[in-house]
Amino acid sequence: MESTTLAHHLLLAGLLFAVGLTGVLLRRNLLVVTMCLELMLAASTLAMVAFSRFNHKMDGAIFVFFVITVAAAEVAVGLALIVALYRRRGTIQSDALNTLRD
């Protein structure tokens, strides 16, 4: 059986990214949009780990730890915002949140 190559990893990362992007573009529930954003971030992180692995350098792999840490903090803030939004407005449908338009 042929071993996995860099292209396989990148393909997987690209597919994950595309799934996330589609979700961000199509879904209206902000909670789901946030999850899709995280999926995109994870996809790019995966690409970085793959590059790190196939270039035999640990820089990228180490960097990913920082990315994940920051992402965790960012998710905490994002979820808190969504909860605050729901309490205030009673909805988290993005189409309903358009008071800034006018």
Binding site: L25, V33, S94, D95, L97, N98, T99, L100, R101
Partner: protein, 612 residues
């Protein structure tokens, strides 16, 4: 191979920086400790500088490259030649005693930590100028000196005159430094190096050979308070008296002279001629102006201006060696005069008006004796420190140009007159105020520096230094002076003698009536002519009438063109129209639409860059 003294120079340069940092970080509230540390360091570097002066007559060169930008090397290094060794010793020695004096003088001050930290950072800066081996390093330390001067003038920052004087000193110095930095840029553009040794080996620039010297001269004019940028020096007396002695008499203002001596090979005859004329003119005028000051420190400040003018004239006469010698001698006696004035002010409970003093010779004998000794040196009484250098400069002027000689002779005369007036008003006659009535001698921390600097160095420096320091530059400079000094018929000696005799008459003249200025009583018009601050008034007029009009015109242009046409019409108007139209169509309040635009834009950009 000669022994390497660069590590000694490291210690001399960085000890005061360490002291300043330590005081700034830990000792801001501990005034006594700060005073002790700063003074100890000052004496340590004085000892190191004395060692450097006595053990070697070889030049010390040391250089480290800090950055290389486009083929231009920016470095940090030392060039310790004979002048530098002499200057290092004079600066650190005078400064050490002034530090000790400050311990007594600033006894009751609440901000002693800041004061002594400031003195230490000043020491670091001035020593940096002395040892620097390139123009950029000189400039950096030059600005540091300006900063520490600003900080120390503004020590009593809650007083308006001190705050304004520090600002004035800073701004006036910036004017000169503008020329300095343009000179550095010009030097880089034409020579490609800033190193003194490399510059010395180069041929002058074709085209405008005088321009480089003239630009660098601007820095000297600002820092050494030469005409027309001399206006800051008299105001700077608002700082504490030890600061006036150290920075505004002995060392910083002389740094400009030292710098000019260091780069004298870059000066052309036109520049030197200008320096000579303006220096000699200022020497004469400032000496006369000192006659019309009642504040003892202001009077001494005019005296400093006169001596700086004499040094400038010596530079202009192609005699930088004499300028540096006079700077050294002047440092000794003028520091003593200022410290003596400080002791008097301290003794009279911060009274600075000479007309309210009088009769202090009996109450403050040590101060009086040292002040009078330094005054005699200032008047160039034969065989005292000031005589060797000043008469040599007057003699050089006589060989060179009779107009310069006449101006310097007038300056010598004025020196004797104001010195006689000062001594007469302060130390003799009846006490003219309650403060002078109850004056007391200062503590030992203040009188010891007076005795050392005043009696030993003002009186004996020129005479004894060649014997004390055989291997030094001082000997090379002073030895021919000794021979010259015995030509009793030399015009300089005649002029000096005449000036001394007239000074003796002035001493009688000012003793005529107590509590009033005799010249003011007899010739009020002459007195007010001398008292009037011509250049300050002129600058005030320039700023209020000329500069303000120009600024208003430019502000109007700014309002019309930049603010009106460019910002309001083009900058804000066009986007406003586009925004209004676009907002109707694009601004729908749908997050997904915005996200889609973002993705589309990214793809477009990616396509654009990848397809190329």
């Amino acid at each position: 191979m000669p022994p390497d003294f660069s590590s000694l120079v490291h210690w001399i340069l960085f000890l005061p920086l360490g002291a300043a940092l330590f005081i700034a970080l830990f000792l801001r509230r501990a005034g006594t400790l700060a005073a002790g540390l700063s003074t100890g360091v000052a004496f340590a570097i004085a000892a190191l500088a004395l060692r450097l002066l006595t053990v070697t007559s070889a030049d010390t060169l040391w250089h480290v490259e800090l950055a290389k930008l486009g083929g231009i090397s920016l470095g940090f290094g030392y060039l310790i030649d004979a002048n530098a060794r002499l200057m290092l010793f004079v600066v650190s020695f005078v400064a050490a005693w002034i530090h000790l004096f400050s311990v007594g003088y600033m006894q009751d001050d609440d901000a002693r930590g800041r004061f002594f930290g400031g003195l230490s950072i000043f020491m670091f800066s001035i020593l940096g100028i002395v040892v620097a081996d390139n123009l950029l390093m000189t400039f950096v330390f030059w600005e540091l000196v300006g900063f520490s001067s600003y900080m120390l003038i503004a020590h009593y920052f809650d007083k308006d005159d001190a705050a304004e004087a520090s600002k004035k000193a800073f701004i006036v110095n910036r004017l000169g430094d503008l020329g300095f930095i343009l000179g550095i840029a010009f030097c880089l553009a034409h020579h490609g190096t800033l190193n003194f040794a490399e510059l010395g080996a180069l041929k002058p620039v074709a085209g405008w050979p005088w321009l480089l010297g003239a630009l660098l001269m601007c820095g000297f004019i600002g820092k050494s308070a030469q005409f027309p940028l001399h206006v800051w020096l008299t105001d700077a007396m608002a700082g504490p008296t030890p600061v006036s002695a150290l920075i505004h008499a002995a060392t910083m203002v002389a740094a400009g002279v030292y710098f000019m001596a260091r780069i004298s090979f870059l000066m052309t005859d036109e520049v030197l001629g200008f320096i000579a004329i303006s220096g000699a003119g200022m020497a004469a005028l400032a000496g006369l102006c000192a006659l019309a000051q009642t504040d003892i420190k202001k009077s001494l400040a005019y005296s400093t201006l006169a001596h700086l003018g004499i040094m400038g004239c010596a530079i202009g006469l192609h005699r930088p060696d004499l300028a540096v010698l006079h700077m050294a001698m002047h440092a000794f006696f003028k520091a003593t005069l200022f410290l003596g004035a400080g002791s008097v002010i301290h003794g009279c409970h911060h009274e600075q008006d000479m007309l309210k003093m009088g009769g202090l010779a009996r109450k403050m004998p040590v101060t009086a004796a040292t002040f009078i000794a330094a005054t005699l040196s200032n008047c160039a009484v034969p065989f005292l420190a000031g005589w060797y250098s000043k008469d040599a400069i007057i003699e050089a002027a006589h060989h060179h140009n009779l107009y310069l000689f006449a101006l310097l002779a007038l300056a010598a005369l004025a020196t004797c007159l104001y010195s006689a007036r000062m001594v007469r008003l302060v130390f003799f006659g009846p006490a003219n105020s309650a403060a002078a009535e109850h004056a007391h001698e200062s503590p030992w921390t203040m009188t010891t520096p007076l005795v050392v600097l005043g009696l030993v160095f003002s009186v004996a420096a020129g005479f004894a230094a060649p014997a004390l320091i055989p291997a030094s530059a001082l000997a090379q400079v002073a030895a021919p002076l000794h021979e010259m000094a015995f030509h009793a018929t030399a015009p300089a000696t005649l002029v000096g003698g005449l000036a001394l005799i007239l000074g003796a008459f002035a001493f009688r003249y000012y003793g005529r009536a107590a509590g009033v200025d005799s010249l003011h009583a007899d010739l009020p018009r002459v007195y007010s002519l001398l008292e009037f601050r011509w250049m300050d008034t002129f600058y005030g007029w320039v700023v209020a009438s000329v500069q303000r009009r120009v600024a208003e015109f430019i502000a109007f242009l700014d309002l019309l063109l930049i603010n009106g046409v460019a910002v309001r019409w083009l900058g804000a108007g066009i986007p406003a129209v586009i925004g209004y139209l676009a907002g109707r169509t694009l601004h729908r309040g749908q997050t997904r639409l915005y996200a889609l635009s973002l993705v589309a834009g990214t793809l477009l950009l990616a396509w654009y860059f990848l397809a190329r």
